[in-house]
Subunit: 163 residues, 2 copies
DNA sequence: GAAGCTCGGTTGACGTGTCAATCATGCTAA
DNA sequence: TTAGCATGATTGACACGTCAACCGAGCTTC
């Protein structure tokens, strides 16, 4: 491994101009992409990406309810972020928080009928948007490459930064 | 064309499970990536990604100043977003807003010495973070693929959604 | 010259995210 | 028993973004 990628990768501290260009392109573009998908979701269903993530998790949960901390872990959010978001969703009647019977200080998040309904309405157009804006943009090998890149990045980034 | 990509792509409305998995992976991972880079920047220099974008543009601008609208266009922000952000940056002494001599109602954004200093301090560690967290994670062909994917997505997304 | 237009920019309201502090509760140990 | 301590979650302060409304020049245009 000392010579596989010669001077390109050895002793260099900073990205080359080309690498930097790719970085900026990549980041900006994915930002546009996600915001475009979010805008479609909002338009089609009045849900944000956050709402959708929460509703998806609850919909798939047994009994359509979940401990708050489990939910946070499941969708990869900080607890405080989830708490704020649940507050907003509760105000809109999408979910309900109840004391957990089993765990002393645990809160249980329930999907309300209107939340389930909203999610059901949102699903199809959302998936279509993902197909139209993401999948359809890429050739099959590019799509595969996107998966590989995500995997490589995640591998490289490792778990949360020392926590 | 009826058979090049047979049932995979014809008459299908929704992404397959595999496509959906790639989408989620891709989005989540890029989110983690950018937030990790932003965290490093914050730690190294007390600047946010937004701050950095503004300071970069001003640093490279002739005379280190720029019309507000030109700046917004240059970094691809909405005017209102920029206005809010400039307010925060001005409070911290990173930039200064002055009336524009030439254009009637135009505001001109100036880089302050302390803003220039902050940017200079931030640049090197920031570039290093990009290299460590992004470039180093990918094999050369993956990096190239990332560039291609960004280009394909941008091409497909087109300019802003009918505006 | 007054009504209305556009242009450049700001403002307010509100949703969203992070961080640090707080809080209630149950456990453990002096 | 009570002084800590861990756990599960909420809260407040503040940065950040978007959207829609607004505002103050300068232009028309009648």
């Amino acid at each position: 491994m000392a010579s596989a990628t010669p001077e390109r990768r050895r002793g260099r501290q900073l990205p080359t101009a080309e690498e930097l260009r790719i970085w900026r392109d990549f980041v900006e573009t994915t930002e546009v992409l996600t915001s475009r998908v979010a805008a479609r979701l909002q338009l089609d269903s009045s849900l944000s990406s956050g709402d959708y993530a929460v509703l998806l998790a609850l919909t798939e949960a047994p009994d359509q309810r979940m401990r708050s901390s489990a939910l946070a872990a499941h969708i990869g959010w900080e607890r405080s972020r989830l708490s704020h978001h649940l507050g907003r969703m509760e105000r809109r009647g999408l979910i309900r928080r109840e004391e957990c019977a089993t765990v002393p200080r645990g809160a249980e998040v329930h999907l309300t009928p209107s939340g389930a309904e909203a999610f059901a309405q949102a699903t199809y157009p959302h998936l279509r948007a993902i197909r139209e804006l993401f999948v359809d943009a890429l050739a099959p090998d590019q799509l595969r490459a996107a998966g590989d890149i995500a995997a490589a990045l995640r591998e490289h980034l490792g778990p949360r930064p020392e926590e």
